[in-house]
């Protein structure tokens, strides 16, 4: 319903980005695109790599003697910094390829997974994490936290793979 009106509009917006001076310059660049893309790919270590440390802690796989909130306090600032880098570099890449990304199934899946990852994080932080003081010393966290951890690991893995798959379509 709304999609019928929204989709062509979205496609038009993507085309505008693609045709713009900035988008074109990045797309046709000798070095800018390779550099931006490399930054984007390597930023997965900052985002997914660090969140994996927190997720694995909650699953009781690593750092069992460290309270969960201490792990979160050390790791989450890194994750957020990484996300800013990913987002900016990703947005620039999108800017240069927008028209092609629009119809790309891997790109769409990646965006959906990103939204789901954000939702998972929101649910976790406003839910079970609120009572962390009560369970953070245990080796493994309560089941809600463990589910959030597994969902997080799965979604971020999917995001990385979907991102790579964009080039295949």
């Amino acid at each position: 319903m709304a999609a019928i009106v929204f989709e062509p509009f979205l496609q038009h917006v993507c085309q505008l980005f693609y045709d713009s001076q900035i988008g074109t310059t990045i797309r046709e660049s000798d070095n800018a695109f390779p550099i931006i893309e490399s930054v984007h790919v390597l930023s997965i270590t900052l985002v997914a790599g660090t969140i994996a440390v927190l997720d694995l802690r909650m699953l009781g796989a690593i750092l069992r003697s460290t309270p969960v909130r201490r792990v979160a306090g050390s790791v989450l600032p890194l994750t957020w910094s990484g996300f800013v880098v990913s987002f900016v570099s990703g947005f620039l890449l999108f800017w240069s390829e927008a028209a092609k990304n629009y119809g790309n199934p891997a790109f769409r899946i990646k965006l959906v997974l990103l939204i789901l990852a954000g939702l998972n994080s929101l649910i976790f932080h406003t839910g079970i994490y609120r009572s962390a003081r009560e369970w953070e010393l245990a080796a493994a966290a309560p089941w809600r936290a463990r589910v959030a951890a597994i969902v997080s690991l799965t979604l971020w893995s999917g995001i990385i793979v979907a991102g790579r798959a964009i080039a295949y379509f």
């Binding site: 390779p34 270590t45 900052l46 790599g49 660090t50 969140i51 440390v53 890194l78 893995s157 793979v161």
Partner: protein
């Protein structure tokens, strides 16, 4: 060296990787996921050595688990890496980016097991010193170099 690469290209692994439609894609995806884990472990440990995070945590405690993550993901990276090289062995052999990557990788691994290990174990006793900070900085620089060189293989 070159005969080694040629042999790898002609091996059963090489033939499989060169003909399979999705073999390379899957192997590369695994390589990427392992890269994320390795990078995360390196970051957490080295930022601890720099005194940026986990200041109250013993470096020994951190290292005990994170080194397992690091080495586990390193093994996966090497195995998937060999598979990917077998797919385009000679191209890698001639690629300056690939040679840089292998060199930096060797130095990073060597550094990890020697000076870096020493710095980690001493940090609990001596606290953070200039040496531990330098070791952390070199470690991050080397691993970053491996990653950048890896990306450069595709762009040159």
């Amino acid at each position: 060296m070159q005969p080694l690469f040629i042999a790898l290209g002609h091996s059963a692994l090489g033939h499989y990787m060169q003909t399979s439609v999705w073999g390379f894609a899957v192997v590369e995806a695994i390589h990427l996921l392992a890269l994320a884990v390795l990078g995360g472990s390196v970051l957490v440990v080295d930022l601890r050595l720099l005194g940026v995070i986990f200041r109250k945590e013993s470096t020994r405690t951190l290292d005990r688990d994170l080194s397992r993550l690091l080495l586990g993901s390193l093994v996966i990276l090497i195995l998937t890496g060999i598979a990917m090289v077998s797919e385009e062995a000679l191209k890698c052999y001639f690629s300056p980016a690939f040679r840089w990557k292998m060199t930096l990788l060797a130095v990073a691994v060597l550094f990890y097991f020697t000076i870096h290990r020493h710095a980690l174990l001493r940090a609990d006793i001596n606290g953070l010193t200039a040496w531990s900070r330098i070791a952390a900085a070199i470690s991050m620089g080397l691993w970053l170099g491996v990653g950048v060189a890896g990306r450069a293989i595709g762009f040159l």
